[in-house]
Amino acid sequence: MSTQVGNEDSVVIDVSGLTKEFGRTVALQGASLTVARGEIVVLLGLSGSGKSTLLRHLDGLETPTSGSVRVLGQEVPRLTGRRLRALRSRMGFVFQQFDLVPSLTVLENVLTGALSELRGPRIGLWSYPKRLKLTALGHLDRVGLLDRAYQRADTLSGGQQQRVAIARALMQDPEILLADEPVASLDPESSEQVMSLIREIAMDEGLTVVCSLHQVDLALSWGDRIVGLRHGEVVLDTPAEGLSKAEVMEIYGRVATSTTELEAIEVELSDAAADAAAETHLADGALRS
């Protein structure tokens, strides 16, 4: 139930009591989350904790089993067709696997971010207005890849592809940026680049960011606020400042049901990249089309 009515201006995301079941698997269990405009929030959790599922609900890529998801003042699950697309166009989404179209040029990939403001299908660079092409080139310049504009997307490295994906999201001129494990498939150096780029852009544009991560250190140093998820429940919601890794681990420990589970957390936290990938696949299967 939304307790934030009247705060439309400051509260951009208001999730309450969100439950999602995939068959017999419960991905989210009564999760609640409120995000104010301009906040930079990290969703922290292990693979399977429900981070991705929560993010997808925000963009209407999943339908909740029960609960409410309000984004930018609209109840997302109630929207369909044109109105859902209109809401989506106000949110940029950056995915773990970048999800560029491999056979298209970098520039055309960025341009696809503007499809929602165009009518009808587009094939080829010529089908986009010059105005948008210039804007897209500007965004490519911003992410430092202007010189790659006419290369095929699959000729770029992972970090570069993710920067192209960020440029694509910027094409939407979004108010909110959602990022699902944006650096889980990248090496440490590229991760650093991509994460600081997201933060920099968010500060400059005053974007609201919700980003899921599994690395505790990165989450603490990067986010303003940490929201911890476990078994589909929110178990932690606190400002990042002053929080230590030990405290985070302790909070996870308190809700863990046994010591073996606690050990599992440590192991998983240290090499969760692969698991995060697996999680993506799991969720892909059930993705609403």
Binding site: R88, M91, D99, K130, L134, L137, G138, H139, L146
Partner: protein, 585 residues
């Protein structure tokens, strides 16, 4: 480079305002000359297809007119009749037996060829080239031509048909066998080598178990194709239903000809169902394919499961440490089933060989005739025909293939896209489109062409339509499958930007599927050129007509010349297709 550099962007301008020089600083777009050439070539082929289609005279009025022809035809024919039951059963058994023997022959020969041609098993580059060469060559020579040659060399009987099918099928079977070998997990094989296994053991224990399911599916698939093709073999003198049908039509006994065609249609459908049952029995689990046979088997399986027939769980015996007892494998349901199927398959093969009544002696005596006949085939010449006629006929055949491919392409992109899960607006549309494709594929196109040509009396037009129709079944399915296989990530990413269904299709699905689209279309063109040749043999115009005439008139030099023309055409098309696939990857 132009003057738009300072254009103020629309209201939704991004804060990093494009600096005045952004268009200048952006790199120039470079398109490789090869890509331009490929696009031009593709354009030329499309233009040629449009011209061929316009030339073919296919139009609504002519279709209506041919409908009138059909009505008159049926008025004249009266009822459809069949051969005597005993005769019919024998002919059916003979046709099936002959096709099975041919396919099995090809399968056996294909194993070593595939071993040589697969990059991970070949003993050396030379061997690999040899293996590849054999697959290309055997695929390029139409089985009809082989049959014509073998009919000359053997006393009448089933051997020419078996050998023609057997040799021609090597091309496809060995190629797919080799592809399967190349896709195996190398681990088990390495483990056997590490344990000191021989090369042969590596193959039998490391490779064979991995590739067997795919190999079985390949052989069964080819068997279906061969059954469909066996009709045409009848036109050049291979015994079976096809020959009876050609006799009936030649003696203007249309009612019996149509009757046999009907039997052939039914046989193809039954064979597809049987293939599916066999696949299921050998590979276990419900078939996941979308062919007619697979669907029937799944339905039957569901009905069976509902009646609770085969779902009784087998009780596991308690664990015993008696090794002697453990040595005897219990006769559980799986073992019984496997054994029954194994013996059944063996019986079918033996039955096929028996019903074919193979004159084994011919295999020894025919070598004596080889030199004598071989010299008649060389050197190639156009005989009494002038070159212009022959090239014109070849051009007509290519025209039929191009027109049929274009027609099939246009319809297939539409139907195939809507049959893809990720493109179809809802399940109903997808299911009905899939069903449509299945039904179309169930109809053997060459038999359809024969019937259409006989009924409407219009040679190349009826042939083109039949090929186009069959092409939709093939291309539509391939398009639907490859669109469903594209990475879902980009589609999801575009949906997340708020793009509409059509936009997601055009910007994410289509670009990812383009390569497959081009590849599949050329594959269809390739098969259509071969099929168009065959159309001529059954009365559809083009080079096939001259091929049949030359064969029946014993002008073997002309046969060679025509076969060479067909070979060159097919190889050129295949070359262009390979080039396109490379450029548009």
């Amino acid at each position: 480079m132009s003057l738009i550099t300072a254009t103020p962007p629309a209201p939704s301008a991004p804060p990093p305002a494009p600096s005045p020089s952004i268009a200048d600083r952006a790199p120039r777009r470079r398109v490789s000359p090869e890509r331009i050439a490929a696009i031009l070539a593709l354009g030329a082929i499309v233009v040629a297809s449009v011209i061929a289609l316009a030339d073919s005279g296919i139009s609504i009025p002519s279709m209506i007119e041919s409908w009138g022809n059909a009505e008159r035809f049926f008025a004249r024919v009266g009822t459809i009749t069949f051969p005597e039951p005993g005769e019919l059963v024998y002919l059916t058994a003979l046709t099936i037996g002959l096709v099975l023997c041919g396919t099995l022959l090809a399968a056996v020969i294909s194993v070593p060829i595939a071993y040589l041609a697969a990059s991970n098993t070949t003993p050396g580059r030379g061997w690999q080239a040899f293996g590849r060469f054999v697959t290309v060559l055997t695929r390029a020579i139409p089985d009809v031509v082989l049959a014509m040659v073998f009919v000359l060399m053997f006393s009448l009987g089933s051997l020419p048909g078996i050998l023609a099918i057997g040799i021609h099928s090597i091309g496809m079977i060995a190629k797919l066998f080799a592809d399967a070998i190349e896709q195996i997990d190398e681990g088990p094989r390495r483990a056997i080598r590490a344990a000191g296994g021989s090369k042969l053991q590596e193959f039998t224990s490391g490779i064979l178990p991995q590739v067997l399911p795919s190999w079985v599916a390949t052989v069964l698939h080819r068997n279906d194709i061969n059954l469909r093709g066996s009709v045409v073999l009848g036109y050049v003198g291979v015994v079976g239903l096809g020959m009876e049908m050609s006799f009936a039509f030649k003696s203007l006994n249309y009612s019996e000809g149509l009757g046999i065609a009907l039997v052939m249609f039914a046989l193809c459908v039954v064979m597809e169902i049987v293939s599916s049952v066999v696949r299921q029995a050998m590979l276990g689990g419900a078939p996941t394919g979308r062919g007619l046979g697979d669907r029937v088997v799944r339905l039957a399986g569901r009905a069976g499961a509902k009646r609770g027939v085969e779902t009784t769980p087998v009780a596991r015996p308690a664990v015993s440490h008696d090794l002697d007892a453990a040595l005897r494998r219990p006769w559980d349901a799986v073992r019984i089933r496997n054994t029954v199927w194994g013996w059944l398959a063996f019986a079918v093969v033996v039955g096929s060989v028996l019903v074919c009544n193979i004159q084994w002696g011919d295999l020894i005596t025919f070598w004596a005739k080889v030199p004598e006949i071989a010299v008649q085939f060389w050197p190639p010449s156009f005989g009494n025909y002038d070159a212009a006629t022959m090239f014109g006929a070849m051009a007509q055949t290519i025209g039929i293939a191009l027109a049929a491919t274009l027609l099939a392409f246009v319809v297939s992109v539409f139907v195939g896209s809507l049959a893809a899960r990720n493109v179809a607006p809802n399940g109903t549309v997808r299911t009905s489109m899939r069903l449509l494709l299945v039904v179309i594929r169930g109809i053997p196109e060459v038999i359809l062409a024969i019937v259409l040509i006989v009924i409407t009396g219009l040679g190349s037009q009826a042939g083109t339509l039949a090929l186009a129709f069959g092409g939709i079944g093939l291309l539509g399915k391939l398009i639907a499958d490859s669109f469903e296989e594209v990475k879902p990530g980009p589609e999801r990413a575009l949906r997340a930007t708020g793009a509409s269904r059509g936009q997601v299709y055009a910007s994410a699905t289509l670009p990812q599927g383009t390569r497959a689209l081009i590849g599949h279309s050329f594959y269809l063109l390739d098969t259509n050129i071969r099929a168009a040749t065959i159309l001529g043999i059954v009365g559809g115009g083009g080079i096939g007509y001259y091929l049949l005439n030359a064969g029946q008139g014993s002008n073997y030099a002309v046969v060679t010349a025509i076969v060479l023309m067909i070979l060159v055409t097919v190889l050129i098309v295949e070359g262009i297709a390979m080039w396109m696939r490379r450029v548009f990857k």
